[in-house]
């Protein structure tokens, strides 16, 4: 398996940390459109923030790379172009390979003969181009000094390959076979399988064959015994069919070897072009924040489940109105409680609060700066959301049942350390019954180590939730304050 070097993830990629529907609910798609106009860049950015690092080290790994790119902003563009070229070589190689196989399948034996030769030439040439490109990348990265672990790793990895003696030897073999012709290459090593079939047929250099077609002279007994052990034999004609099968098989195997090495290197690096798109979009985001003139910070990251922010702005409002018109939030959610309910009337800013917390959490966990004077957060292993929606035209379930079904689907995804954002759930039924049912679910979340933030106007919840749940209340001027507690335990 190829050891993949990543500029996004220090550890193994954590899949599906944020669902696409959550990005949509938090309006991150709209936010993204404000600072990144390129469709490819923004798609890569969105995909990346769906797979967030879940550990403190993971967040810092990405953040320091971003800081390096902020320092060497021209390097990012050139690096991206090189990796784009690498991806293009890969696509060309796969396309040509498919084309040769297609022609081989369509044609007869002659086509197979010629196709094998073309495949070998093309594979050798591809590997040569790739090795030369890695050499150029080595020259580019060799000129810079980086503070981030990720870019230092990349620099060292490319150096190890481009500067190796084996690479020079490989380049020499590529040159030998890039203009391959059949003439003079009918020497093979055959290995039989356990079932007595020809399992492997490989091309060997002609100087490995020691043919002796001369008639044997009379020799001494001991000399004869020795020769008997090591001598070869003249072979009766093997027939055209077997000869062609051996030739095609050996050439295709050699082409496959060249291809394997090329694919190994492609697999090792091809994803980096797409990863760099994230940083391209991230730089645009950083520049846009600078232009808005609001205070930004790289948040403090710590394990433990807490969240706090000072003068944090809702990014969507910031981008769509003037910063002066946006009321910043300052809020602390204790790591031990890990659960908060914000009560409030309609249009009092509940959804904006939930969006602010969700967006800040995602951006901070993605390693990006945030529009706040100060922020501390803890990475979550999964970010899920539920937003009350209109009834869907679905058979066999009313609105409340549809809500319960969505909750049920959410349960199947839950892992400890998840953060769940809930916007006005269970309000499509009697409030008393809904509040009771919801509080059982919230209690289950808390008992399972899942942090949750709920916004609701269902005050009946206060009767059911535990005492350690933090209760907040919206106040005039879109402010947030502590709410009175009627909790049961």
């Amino acid at each position: 398996m190829t050891e993949r070097l990543s500029l996004l993830h220090k550890e193994e990629i954590s899949v599906g940390t944020v669902g696409e529907e959550t990005l949509y609910r938090l309006s991150l798609d709209k936010i993204l459109a404000y600072f990144c106009r390129d469709v490819r860049d923004s798609a890569a950015f969105a995909e990346t923030i769906c797979h967030l690092p879940c550990t403190v080290d993971g967040v810092l790994y990405r953040r320091t790379i971003l800081q390096d790119f902020l320092e060497h902003s021209a390097l990012l563009q050139t690096l991206y172009e090189y990796f784009e070229k690498l991806s293009r070589y890969h696509e060309e190689y796969e396309r040509e390979r498919r084309e040769i196989y297609r022609t081989q399948r369509a044609g007869g034996q002659g086509q197979s003969f010629a196709g094998a030769g073309s495949l070998l030439s093309m594979s050798a040439l591809t590997l040569k181009r790739l090795l030369l490109l890695l050499g150029a990348l080595d020259d580019l990265l060799g000129c810079c000094s980086f503070s981030s672990e990720g870019l230092r790793n990349l620099q060292a990895d490319i150096r190890r390959i481009a500067g190796s003696e084996d690479t020079n030897a490989l380049l020499a073999l590529c040159t030998k076979f890039e203009r391959y012709t059949t003439v003079g290459q009918l020497d093979f090593r055959l290995v039989l399988t356990a079932s007595g079939r020809i399992g492997a047929c490989d091309l060997i250099p002609h100087n490995a064959i020691h043919a002796d077609f001369l008639p044997k002279k009379k020799k001494s007994f001991f000399k004869k015994q020795e020769e008997k052990r090591n001598a070869g034999v003249v072979l009766d004609p093997v027939g055209v069919k077997l000869q062609e099968e051996m030739y095609v098989s050996s050439v295709v195997r050699l082409a496959a070897r060249f291809g394997e090495i090329a694919r190994f290197l492609f697999d090792k690096y091809k994803h980096l072009g797409r990863e760099l798109l994230f940083y391209k979009a991230a730089l645009q985001y950083c520049y846009r924040l600078q232009n808005l003139g609001v205070t930004t910070c790289f948040p403090m990251v710590a394990a433990g489940g807490g969240f706090s922010c000072e003068s944090a702005y809702d990014l969507l409002l910031l981008l769509t109105t003037s910063p002066a018109a946006v009321v910043p939030y300052s809020v602390t959610i204790d790591g031990d409680a890990g659960s908060t309910i914000l009560f409030g009337d309609n249009s009092s800013g509940k959804t904006t609060f939930l969006r602010t917390v969700g967006v800040l959490q995602i951006l901070a966990q993605a390693g990006l700066p945030v529009p706040a004077e100060q922020m501390t957060f803890s990475p979550c292993s999964l970010l899920l959301s539920y937003y009350a929606e209109a009834e869907k035209a679905e058979q066999g379930a009313g609105r409340f049942e549809q809500e319960v079904r969505e909750f049920r689907a959410m349960f199947d995804l839950l892992v400890p350390g998840a953060l769940v954002l809930l916007n006005e759930p269970f309000q499509s039924t009697s409030y008393d019954e809904g509040a009771k049912g919801l509080s059982d679910i919230l209690e289950y979340f808390s008992a399972s180590g899942i942090r949750w933030i709920l916004v609701s106007h269902m005050h009946q919840l206060k009767k059911h939730v535990r005492r350690d749940v933090q209760l907040l209340q919206t106040a005039a001027g879109y402010k947030i304050r502590k709410a009175a507690c009627e909790a049961k335990k």
């Binding site: 007595g196 250099p205 070869g232 190994f264 066999g396 409340f400 049942e401 019954e433």
Partner: protein
């Protein structure tokens, strides 16, 4: 000691051929495992098979089983090739390979990573003195033959002006050079793909001349082991295939988010299951509504009525297929289930043949008579739209008579019918539900069932009520 089977005991009796066809079993599972699956088993066999399936849920046990199955298949395949081989070199190498594969199979048979009743019996049999002695002899012969075979198997050929064959001198091929450089770059070396081209007479003869002494020594080592003695375990292949195919099928179902369970085996005559899915329908569409099943000694028979295309046949098929699975020792597509070991499962579905000897109705009556005449009390009969060719009055009367017959014979049954009259005769009846606007809900409920709290009901349905949450336990990694 008799050779033990992975199936423990075969099912009680061969299933009715109509069962496979009516329930579309051949469309959802490989046909080769159906003869095993459709024979209802006794309680002990079901429990033993369940334990084997449970063990397969551990990756190590599953891969061991698959490895064994592949080794058994390879043994069977090589035995065939050996019997067909004509050239000396392939025949000798195949013979040695049969020895190797036999050793692999026996080693795997004796080393299951987890013990259960079935593996314990298998391990005991294959580890007894006679088998151990044979194993040791074969191992010794194979070890001695190995270097000879290795020497014979690698050689160089030049097909330039005149053809020449020579022993391999140990030099590197171009492919090996590439592999060595690639390893230097940190790339793991992978063996090239095997080709599998047959040797021809010319090469085999040249090899026989070049390696005359080695070949004679090889043949002498292999001669004492006839292929027949190496083929004793081959019959296990189809038994293990049953387990592997059923396991894969259930895993695919589980990956769709459908719950499965091993049913409890009840000593009381009953068939109860919660949230049962029809596997046939699941293959065709993603959204399938699960239903509950509850038959017991008190209510062993139900009519099922409801609107056309309302899910009646799906309910019946789901119930029947899951009963087949349960009685074959497999998992069911249900949240929870408890099943009695019925001796027989019968289906009575409409047939599309031309009824040349008698009318459709007569033919249907004859088929039903055949089912009841067998007189197997512990039978479960699934009837789908039987007597639909008759008019409403006659059809309903026949349906009621059928219910009466089954009750007299103390058989269990589910009868899907469109004769609405049957529900007025006091016989327990299920109904495929529709909503106020006549939309199909695909939910089957007892006629005149009581109502309960709306919110609580729905939460309970999705296991999100307080009790279910408590029972669920905390979220784990």
């Amino acid at each position: 000691m008799n050779k033990p089977s992975f199936l423990y005991a075969a099912g009680k009796q061969r299933a009715d051929t109509a069962l496979v066809e009516d329930l579309h079993l051949g469309d959802i599972l490989p046909k080769k495992i159906l003869p095993i699956l459709t024979r209802p088993c006794d309680k002990q066999t079901i429990l033993y098979r369940q334990n084997f399936f449970r063990a397969m849920e551990a990756d190590a046990f599953y891969s061991h089983t698959v490895k064994l199955l592949n080794a058994l298949r390879a043994l069977a395949s090589e035995r065939y090739h050996w019997s067909e081989a004509e050239l000396h070199i392939p025949r000798s190498l195949l013979h040695l390979n049969l020895l190797r594969l036999y050793l692999d199979v026996v080693r795997l048979l004796c080393a299951f990573p987890q013990e259960n009743e079935i593996t314990a019996a298998i391990t005991t049999y294959w580890g007894d003195d006679a088998h151990r002695t044979l194993y040791a002899k074969i191992e010794q012969a194979a070890c001695a033959a190995e270097p000879l075979a290795k020497r014979i198997s690698t050689f160089d050929v030049s097909l330039m002006d005149r053809a020449w064959m020579q022993p391999d001198d140990g030099g590197r091929s171009y492919g090996e050079m590439l592999a060595a450089y690639a390893t230097g770059l940190g790339m793991p070396s992978a063996p090239g793909k095997e080709q599998g081209v047959c040797l021809n007479l010319s090469m085999s003869s040249a090899l026989s001349v070049m390696y005359r002494e080695e070949l004679a020594a090889l043949d002498a080592r292999l001669a004492p082991f006839a292929s027949e003695m190496l083929c004793e375990p081959i019959g296990y292949a189809e038994e293990l295939d049953f387990y592997v195919q059923m396991h894969k099928f259930m895993r695919a179902i589980e990956q769709k988010g459908i719950h499965t369970c091993f049913p409890a085996v009840s000593d009381h005559r009953q068939y109860r299951a919660e949230q049962v899915y029809d596997p046939y329908l699941l293959q065709k569409q993603a959204e399938v509504v699960p239903n509950d099943i509850a038959f017991d000694e008190g209510e062993p028979f139900f009519f099922l009525i409801g609107a056309n295309s309302g899910g009646k046949t799906t309910y019946l098929r789901g119930a029947a297929l899951n009963l087949v699975f349960a009685l074959g020792g497999c998992k069911m597509l249900a949240a929870r289930a408890s099943v009695y070991c019925f001796d027989r499962i019968c289906t009575h579905f409409p047939k599309d043949e031309r009824f040349e000897q008698m009318g459709r109705l007569e033919e249907e009556k004859r088929r039903f008579d055949e089912i009841v005449c067998a007189g197997v009390r512990d039978s479960f009969v699934f009837l789908n739209e039987a007597y639909s060719g008759a008019n409403d009055t006659v059809g309903a009367a026949l349906a009621l008579k059928t219910a009466e017959t089954l009750r007299d014979k103390q058989m269990f049954g589910l009868f899907v019918t469109h004769f609405q009259e049957v529900c007025r005769k006091g016989i327990p009846t299920l109904q495929a539900m529709v909503d106020g606007e006549n939309n199909r809900l695909y939910k089957v409920q007892r006629l005149h069932s009581g109502a309960s709290s709306y919110v609580e009901d729905i939460l309970k349905k999705y296991d999100l009520d307080a009790d279910s949450l408590r029972a669920r336990g905390n979220v784990h990694d």
